[in-house]
Subunit: 341 residues, 2 copies
DNA sequence: CTGAAAGCGCTTACAG
DNA sequence: CTGAAAGCGCTTACAG
């Protein structure tokens, strides 16, 4: 038999009203005597208020739903860490869902999480499906949520963005300034987060320097280690470049392997730049030159905006913009007359 | 105003009993007419039953608490994926907590999760704190939980173990058979999951082959990439070995960098073996020889045992044992007369 | 085939 | 300083 507030009342000889008030530190002052009596019984019985009963009267699940495309993705696990750290401090716990990049699963989880009375949702999504439609149904008009979608779904507030274009442009500029003219790029394929800004910046930067992009230079694949590996094999088979700009660090890690298998050396034969600035990239050999963006900071910002929204004025979310930083390390070399140094 | 079952009843001209029964597919047969009437109103109003009210009457939170020492750890994120995949299929969602290796936080989260009425807990813990005491308090006597603790906390059932000893022994034997005599090991320091079986197997294997372990060969640090890097620097500074057995893959990744910085080559100058068999190890250069253990499988097993426990006979958990597999790849070379090939 | 009523375990006006 | 009672939104015997 579960211990209820009634038992506590009976055992300590007071009313349930008193027990409730004492436990919640509410109401008028109680005699110290009464308080102690109640507290003693509570301690002895190890009474814990029933979560559901409590929430039915006073809905505060203190729970946030988080949906990511892949829990094991190095970038997202960092984002989750950022979310979790901030949220736990505020007394929230996260319900975590892995959408496996599927928009169907996403929709299913959004609905599932709402049914579970989460107070808000952080949805990291590569999809531009009609999320707003999904979320803005009637009673959920003002339901608090934050999208981590790289701006795919246009909206006024709650955009957490990174200066991706600037970061990518800077990286490619760096390569060009070092003498590179034949620069490849590993991009996402359709199953994953779009990296359009990075691709556009890459194209524009080459154009701005009067370099004509040859289409074989751009290869798309999964934005994973394996995808980077496969894309690199494909790229090296049909063209030769002196540098490779990778859509993200995971692809760069795969690229390292692909380049090695092609019998080439980094950076002597080919320079490589990644994107994300994952901790691991500093330990690769050679250490990876990469465009850093604050994964944990992004997670924290999402959590912060969401909590502010829950506590106060919804729908009126601020936008947040993060700068990137080019981390220059060992994977890039100078090119003079086609020879790397 | 939230739509309630009362509204549905009023709008469709039936009683709330009928609405409830129709929605839950329960009770005696209703006229198809009534069913359709109710369903129509439910659809129009987008009515969703209140989570708390529903659970108060009929507690089935369909929620499992999961606590891990570090969400971003490559091994644990795979374990979480295994848990999540199995559980979602069964209609459960996970409340995820990151204990950051702290036993205090662990205790706090266990309590927090129970207060949130999770139906069970999977606790991945490096600690041998009095968890049973924590969990076996009165009303929680039969509370379902599974520990992922490498057998640190002795108990009869629900042990999910890997043949770590055998896996480590095989790895070290492999090195010895290839001619290695000076074999170092990177072990965990006190802040992390113990890898005692791996260390013991290493020691015993050397002893069995009449090789006296020199203490400087064993260096402890965090079981992370950085820890592996630092440990390797320390080890290479005070001794020279022809092979290095790393407590886990992350340490091995750090070791790669430490070895490179010491001006040595893998495997020509020094052979390296890891432990875990993370996907990434296949893409390192050279690809890492490592002792594979099924991270996702471990997560799935934990989830499976837990759900069985929730559904049926608690406390009577089966044990589960996983074999390891030595993945022989490029990071190990033969040694003859002190020279590697 | 359908409904009135009790009850789940809390919190919160309200009264004294 | 403290308690009786209403009510949160459901489900489930029970009755008809």
């Amino acid at each position: 038999m579960k211990t209820t507030i009634k038992d506590i009342a009976r055992l300590s000889g007071v009313s349930i009203t008193t027990v409730s008030q004492v436990l919640n530190g509410k109401g008028k002052r109680f005699s110290e005597d009464t308080r102690q009596k109640v507290l003693k019984v509570v301690a002895e019985t190890e009474y814990r208020p029933d979560y559901f009963a409590k929430n039915m009267v006073n809905p505060q699940s203190k729970t946030i739903g988080v949906i990511v495309p892949d829990i094991t993705d190095l970038f997202f696990s960092k984002v989750i860490e950022g979310i979790e750290t901030y949220l736990n401090e505020k007394g929230y716990v996260i319900l975590l869902c892995d959408s496996h990049h599927s928009d169907e699963k996403e929709a299913h989880y959004v609905s599932e999480l709402m049914d579970r009375a989460v107070e808000g949702i952080i949805l990291a999504t590569p999809n531009s499906i009609a999320l707003d439609k999904l979320l803005d149904v009637k009673q959920y008009q003002s339901f608090p949520y934050v999208l981590l979608d790289r701006g795919i779904n246009k909206r006024d507030g709650g955009n957490i963005l990174v200066d991706e274009y600037a970061g990518a442009y800077e990286a490619v500029t760096y390569l060009i300034e070092l003498g590179h003219r034949r620069i490849g790029m590993l991009a996402n394929d359709s199953r994953f987060y779009k990296m359009d800004e990075r691709t556009e910046a890459y194209r524009q930067c080459l154009a701005d320097h009067q370099i004509a992009v040859e289409e074989p230079w751009i290869v798309s694949n999964a934005v994973t280690i394996e995808g980077g590996y496969l894309a690199t094999k494909e790229l090296l088979a049909k063209t030769n470049v002196s540098a490779l700009f990778c859509g993200n660090d995971q692809m760069a890690i795969g690229a390292y392997r692909g380049i090695f298998e092609a019998g080439l050396k980094i950076p002597e034969d080919i320079s490589v730049i990644g994107y994300d600035g994952l901790d691991i990239t500093n330990y690769l050999t050679p250490s990876l030159t990469t465009v850093y963006q604050p994964a944990a900071g992004i997670g924290q910002a999402a959590a912060e905006i969401l909590v502010d929204g829950i506590l106060g004025n919804h729908r009126n979310y601020p936008n947040k913009n993060f700068p990137t930083k080019l981390l220059k390390r060992e994977s890039v070399a100078v090119v003079l007359d086609g020879i790397s140094f």
